[in-house]
């Protein structure tokens, strides 16, 4: 059952990325290069974040929630936004529409994140004899993360790439982007500050990611409308 279970959890963790790529027009326009670039940017961002975390954060021995440390962590988390900004605006993307660009970047970003954070625990843990729900939940978390990454990329592309957007929507866009960017800190707070258990946290993540995705989609569609 061990390899089987590992296989199942891997499908849950990485399957949606592949499905997203093949189901959407991304595959038709062959945007894999953009995704790979975004993944590389993610790796670079992760390294920078690592350096910052190592420089400014005390490693706490216990799992308690320290507001100051968490604030710092949230601030450092915003480096992600910079990374996405870089991936969206500074990289030269071959002939790719804005629509596809943000999706490809979000996809590459989320996939790199999943590989970095989920693959090793999965390989180590899910093949063991011991059964826990952890790896299934972790796979669900990866799904939520994919949705959030694409939402963030969509909002980012609205903020930085689209010039003629309705003026009334701009604060909403910024607010949403801020919310999405602080999601990691929010979940961290839920888990450590409020002591939520993993299933609850994952449920919350799935729910919020879907809500944020819906809002981003509506915002995107609203911005799209004048140009159509």
């Amino acid at each position: 059952m061990t390899m089987f279970h590992f296989f199942n959890c891997a499908i849950l963790t990485f399957g949606p990325h592949a499905v997203y790529y093949s189901a959407t027009p991304l595959s038709e326009y062959d945007t894999i290069g953009t995704s790979v670039k975004a993944a590389v940017v993610y790796l670079g961002t992760a390294l920078v974040k690592l350096v910052f975390l190592a420089a400014f954060l005390n490693v706490s021995e216990n799992e308690s929630f320290d507001p100051y440390q968490e604030l710092l962590k949230a601030l450092i988390g915003f480096i992600d936004v910079a990374g996405i900004y870089f991936a969206l605006t500074q990289l030269t993307h071959r002939n790719i529409s804005q629509n596809h660009k943000f999706q490809a970047v979000g996809l590459g970003w989320a996939f790199a994140d999943s590989v970095l954070h989920k693959l090793a625990p999965l390989w180590v843990g899910a093949r063991g004899l011991e059964f826990t729900w952890d790896y299934i939940l972790q796979g669900l978390e990866a799904n939520a993360n994919l949705v959030l990454s694409i939402s963030l990329a969509a909002l980012g592309s609205l903020m930085w790439l689209r010039k003629n957007k309705p003026r009334t929507l701009i604060p909403i866009i910024y607010l949403c982007a801020w919310i999405v960017a602080t999601m990691p800190s929010i979940t961290s707070y839920l888990r450590r500050g409020l002591g939520w258990h993993l299933p609850k946290v994952v449920g919350f993540e799935l729910f919020t990611s879907l809500v944020m995705a819906f809002i981003s989609w509506q915002l995107f569609a609203a911005c799209q409308r004048p140009s159509v």
Partner: protein
């Protein structure tokens, strides 16, 4: 594991992940993540003249069960967990006698037997006695049976109890655990048990010479005080034998200490040599005693006036037995017995004489003194047991731990032996002289007795698993050297008809496992999830591009979906 549970963006984790990937992928490290890890002690495995006994296997990888009567369970692939508290020995007996196959057996010893779980109240006394009786029965059954599957003992704790409760609940619903229903899996990964190559037994002898007026001290008569120190039990790693025969060993050491005090002063040095013997191989018809006596110098052997063997003297109340193999009318026996019963009378308890003839043609030696008697040396065994134990019985059963032995019983036994010996040596028979009176400098030292008893109760002493160089043996040797003039250590090979197998101790991993059906279902659910996701994404995103063309292109979607 921090990696598993922590957040997605915790970048410290990503470093851990990277390192973990490096280690795990390239070094192939298997990490242990079992729900519960328990120390388990294997049932002894031995051959007696080529006939196999005990548990013949060590490695275990089966599902857990709680009953031998699960209707549709495949018992050959199930490890049955029995808590001794609820065990009905006859059920196990039937099963073993019928030689039916099992995946394995795991007996849970009550916390009563662990050093921490003990309580000092008498409410537990009857419970203890019941458990003790059960365990003795079970051990005798297991030791004398040939069991073709692994049998382990473990101590109860919260984790194991939780697992057992789950297993019981599962069994009660009529769905015993197999590969398709999940449950718990018990895994002991250990190598095939190997034969212990030429097991040695080590006898330790201390010599305290008497006061010689003129001529050689060897011509003085000698009194031997002997106890066998090794043990034998169903679980060799748990066989500490506090009473049998740790109490005897403690008594020999303490008597040696007391007489070394007397003998260190020329004025109080007796006209008897004292020979202290700690012999091994006790459970195997006193094989060590046999070899020791035959290796003794002929003149020394002939100078032995009599020998006192001490066996199980740590948990009696008001009666001790002197076991002899010569008729009680024998003058030596009479003299020894009278000496003992005088002192016992003064101390307020009873000593009785029990005569058991030796059958020379029978290899069975039930008491240590019988080895002396076979060489025509007068010898007696002082014991709390009224009858001779059976072969391999009463040599350090699992229950025979520190908490079933009372130091006071040992100190009283020591006092009895030392006092009557001293009266004999100094010729005070029949007089009421207290040589080892309490509160005198020659009193029996309870803390000495206690500390040695504690050490013995921590040290499993099954001879084949006790190396020549074992720290315990050197400790015994050092202690005896402290109190006697000369110490000899004798290594002998154990009687060849016994073969023992190693791996007496192992680690049991208890995994909670999901069934294959669960994984199949999960695969189905995930597959449909991905298909739904795919359809949803096609509908929505293609719609974003061209909302109308989406509905005009169902054929192409079908091709893609397929």
């Amino acid at each position: 594991m921090a990696i598993v549970r922590d957040g997605r963006f915790q970048l410290l984790d990503s470093a851990c992940s990277l390192i973990a990937i490096l280690f795990v992928l390239f070094a192939g490290v298997e990490l242990c993540d079992a729900a519960t890890v328990v120390d388990v002690y294997r049932l002894i495995q031995y051959d007696l003249a080529g006939v196999p006994f005990g548990s013949r296997l060590a490695s275990l990888n089966h599902h857990a069960g709680s009953s031998l009567y699960s209707p549709n369970a495949d018992l050959t692939r199930t490890v049955i967990i029995f808590p001794i508290r609820e065990l009905d020995v006859s059920v196990v007996k039937d099963y073993i006698v019928q030689r039916q196959l099992l995946g394995g057996l795991l007996f849970l010893l009550p916390r009563l037997f662990t050093s921490k779980g003990i309580k000092k109240d008498d409410d537990h006394q009857s419970e203890k006695d019941v458990m003790r009786k059960k365990l003795v029965q079970l051990e005798q059954l297991l030791v004398h049976a040939n069991i073709p599957y692994p049998v382990y003992f473990a101590f109860e704790d919260e984790n194991v109890e939780a697992v057992l409760a789950d297993v019981k609940r599962n069994d009660a619903t009529g769905q015993p655990a197999t590969a398709t229903t999940g449950g718990y899996k018990l895994v002991v990964s250990t190598a095939e048990p190997k034969k212990v190559v030429s097991p040695t037994i080590t006898n330790i002898q201390g010599w305290l010479p008497g006061f010689k007026v003129d001529g050689d001290s060897n011509q003085l008569p000698t009194i031997a005080i002997v106890a066998s120190y090794d043990t034998f039990g169903a679980a060799p790693a748990l066989s500490v034998g506090s009473d049998s025969n740790g109490s005897g060993v403690v008594a020999v050491l303490e008597i040696a200490r007391l007489f070394s005090l007397l003998y260190s002063n020329p004025k109080t040095r007796g006209r008897y040599n004292l020979l202290f013997g700690l012999t091994s191989g006790g459970p195997y018809n006193y094989n060590g005693t046999y070899k020791w006596l035959r290796s003794l110098d002929q003149r020394l052997r002939e100078s032995v006036d009599y020998a006192i063997c001490l066996n199980s003297i740590g948990s009696w109340d008001n009666e001790l037995w002197i076991h002899v193999s010569k008729p009680p009318e024998n003058s030596y026996i009479k003299q020894i017995f009278e000496g003992f019963s005088d002192v016992a009378g003064e101390m307020g308890f009873k000593v009785d004489l029990k005569h058991k003839k030796i059958n020379i043609s029978n290899p069975r030696v039930a008491w240590e003194h019988e080895q002396f008697s076979r060489l025509r040396i007068t010898a007696v065994t002082l014991s709390e047991l009224s009858a001779a134990p059976e072969f391999l019985e009463n040599f350090g059963s699992i229950f025979d731990g520190r908490h079933f032995v009372r130091e006071t019983a040992i100190t009283r036994s020591v006092k009895l032996v030392a006092e009557s010996l001293a009266r004999h040596i100094y010729g005070h028979q029949g007089k009421n002289v207290q040589i080892f009176a309490e509160n005198s400098s020659l009193a029996v030292n309870p803390s000495y007795v206690q500390s040695w008893l504690n050490l013995l109760s921590r040290t499993p002493r099954v001879a084949p698993f006790l190396q020549k160089s074992d720290p315990f043996i050197s400790a015994l040797k050092r202690e005896l050297a402290e109190h006697t003039a000369e110490v000899n250590v004798q290594h002998e090979v154990l009687n060849g008809i016994f073969t023992f197998y190693d791996s007496t101790k192992a680690t049991l991993n208890i995994y909670q496992v999901a069934s294959v059906t669960f994984d199949l279902l999960l695969l189905l659910v995930l597959g449909s999830y991905l298909i739904v996701l795919f359809s949803f994404l096609v509908i929505t995103t293609r719609g974003l591009d061209d909302l109308i063309s989406l509905f005009r292109r169902p054929p192409s979607r079908k091709v893609k979906a397929a």
